[in-house]
């Protein structure tokens, strides 16, 4: 899509919800749309599912521009997108099964066919035995599972989840994310997650797009972002941590690695540089099922920056000087993966 959206509320100045933005969502991947509230991420979602039309530019799904389509055609085009709304948005006076049936009922499917499909989907999300329960009898996680089943009922190619896990405890969040990942793999779905929770991004997203003040400020593959601590996304994926000050005569170096590195790399690095290397602190997270870490080391200031970086590279590590008395230009050292 390449679109912008401005709201014109009566009697107040126009609100630019989304500045003209170009964004491609790659098929088959999980794209996380990140940002604080008011950053424009929900507007992106509403433009994609056709609930709002862009003020400028266009939104295309599978090459079809939906932004100027008449209402009926728009409905057909957006049927490819299953939507999970914030807070599950279940109909309180319908059972779990009837909620899952809703999109099929609207699209005119026969009663028996939609019953069967709804039962199949409830089983898929692990709620077979709750088919007859009303939303008030379900837990937050169960409601969200029903909402996921409902979003999938019309066999969409895309799944758009707006804050699908907000308000859930971390255990439930994890199980919902696991379910989304399984569904993505089984059904080869393209998933768009609108979220402000970094755990969601680390757990599930292939790509992350950061919005701020209605503008896209950064986008990157999550595994790349984890390796670039100077980027905004990098700092979100692996947040800055407190570290001990470097001892006199040493410089703080940062080492980031995003794939499996044998744990003996520190003695190995010590040996290669022929120096004692204390660990000053660090952070480790699991991103998309792989451990990603950033550690801070104190390396003697006397060693040439190129030599240190080279020693790291030989071990499959990216080493960057951070503070101390390192020469400023050494910050420009870029290393291949």
């Amino acid at each position: 899509m390449s679109a912008g959206k401005t709201y014109y509320p009566r009697g107040r100045s126009p609100v630019v919800a989304l500045k003209p933005t170009t964004l491609d969502i790659p098929a088959g991947e999980v794209t996380a749309i990140l940002g604080e509230s008011g950053a424009g991420k929900t507007t992106v979602g509403r433009l994609v599912n056709g609930l709002t039309r862009p003020t400028t530019g266009s939104v295309s799904i599978d090459g079809v521009d939906i932004s100027r389509l008449p209402h009926k055609k728009l409905i057909d085009a957006t049927r490819k997108i299953g939507v999970i709304f914030q807070g599950s948005a279940l109909l309180s006076r319908r059972t779990a099964l009837e909620n899952v049936e809703l999109p099929l009922q609207i699209s005119g499917a026969g009663r028996a066919a939609r019953r069967a499909r709804a039962r199949e989907l409830l089983a898929r999300v692990g709620l077979e035995e709750k088919a007859g329960a009303y939303p008030s009898q379900l837990s937050g996680g169960q409601k969200q599972r029903v909402a996921i089943a409902r979003a999938l009922s019309a066999r969409p190619d895309y799944l758009l989840a707006d804050e699908a896990t907000s308000g859930l405890d971390s255990e439930t969040t994890r199980s919902i994310l696991r379910l989304l990942r399984e569904l993505r793999d089984d059904l080869r779905l393209t998933v768009v997650l609108i979220t402000h929770e970094m755990d969601v991004v680390r757990e599930l997203a292939d790509r992350a797009v950061l919005f701020e003040g209605g503008a896209l400020v950064e986008q990157a593959a999550v595994s790349d972002a984890a390796r670039t601590p100077d980027s905004r996304l990098g700092r979100l994926v692996l947040p800055p941590v407190n570290i001990a000050p470097a001892p006199p005569g040493t410089t703080t170096w940062e080492v980031g690695y995003a794939r499996e590195v044998a744990l003996d790399w520190l003695p190995e690095l010590s040996a290669r540089l022929d120096a004692r290397i204390p660990l000053l602190g660090g952070i480790s997270e699991v991103i998309n099922g792989h451990p990603v870490s950033r550690l801070y080391l104190a390396i003697p200031s006397g060693l040439p920056a190129q030599a240190v970086a080279g020693a790291g590279e030989a071990l499959g590590l990216v080493l960057l000087p951070r503070g101390g008395d390192a020469p400023a230009d050494s910050r420009k050292v870029t290393l291949a993966r």
Binding site: N49, F85, G87, L90, S92, L102, I106, A154
Partner: protein, 223 residues
């Protein structure tokens, strides 16, 4: 000179039963009319509001203002003010027939606001679920908005129904018949304490019964 002559309880009750029947007759007609006119009107009003399916700022402002105006006129004044129109429409300004028009007009704004606020209590995402599934506006109203608003409507309809009985009692002043008329013509004008007591107890019993029935319905609907 005897100013007050209290009727016996038995005589008061003979007067009371037909009056009760008239009151219920009026209530049934007025409630049916306000529902048939009020629910669709409230649905339209809600959906042209900024929270609705098809916001129309100016239409909403005008209609909302009209409803507020209707609520702000005291019922007694409204009733008196529209007597010529009532006569033209119903052929009479008094009795059950004469009371229907002012009662409906008096109850309508209340019903409209109650239904509108019940619709507003339905989270907008729920309507959006239907919209992204491809539902037309009418379908969204029928499948999502109305069913979801029913518990809230039921809870507030107790207030509306009791309100209608109150209006009917007030309408007794212009000779609408029913319990209100009984209370005015016997209890007030003739200082008849027995009739007054019977009507007060009767009206209280009606209000309490409506409240109880309403609460039971609301409990059943809020699963």
């Amino acid at each position: 000179m005897i100013l007050a002559q209290n009727t016996s309880l038995q005589d008061a009750l003979t007067l009371f039963w037909p009056a009760l029947l008239q009151t219920f007759q009026m209530a049934a007609i007025v409630l049916a009319l306000t529902t048939v006119i009020g629910v669709p009107f409230a649905t339209y009003l809600f959906n042209v509001s900024p929270f609705g399916l098809f916001p129309r700022y100016h239409v909403y402002t005008v209609l909302s203002w009209l409803v507020s105006l209707g609520r702000s006129v005291p019922f007694l004044v409204l009733m008196a003010a529209i007597v010529p129109y009532t006569r033209a429409l119903m052929g009479t300004g008094i009795g059950v027939r004469g009371a229907i028009v002012p009662l409906t007009l008096g109850a309508l704004p209340v019903v409209v606001r109650l239904v509108e606020s019940a619709l507003r209590s339905v989270p907008p995402e729920i309507s959006e679920v239907a919209q992204v599934s491809g539902a037309s506006r009418l379908r969204t109203i029928l499948v999502v908005q109305w069913p979801e608003a029913v518990p809230a409507i039921m809870t507030s309809s107790t207030i509306a129904v009791i309100g209608v009985f109150e209006l009917i009692a007030v309408a007794g002043v212009i000779g609408a018949g029913g319990i209100g008329y009984l209370a005015i013509s016997f209890g007030y004008n003739r200082f008849d304490n027995t009739v007054m007591l019977v009507t007060v107890v009767g009206l209280a019993a009606i209000a309490i019964t409506i409240q109880l029935v309403g609460d039971v319905f609301a409990r059943i609907l809020r699963k």
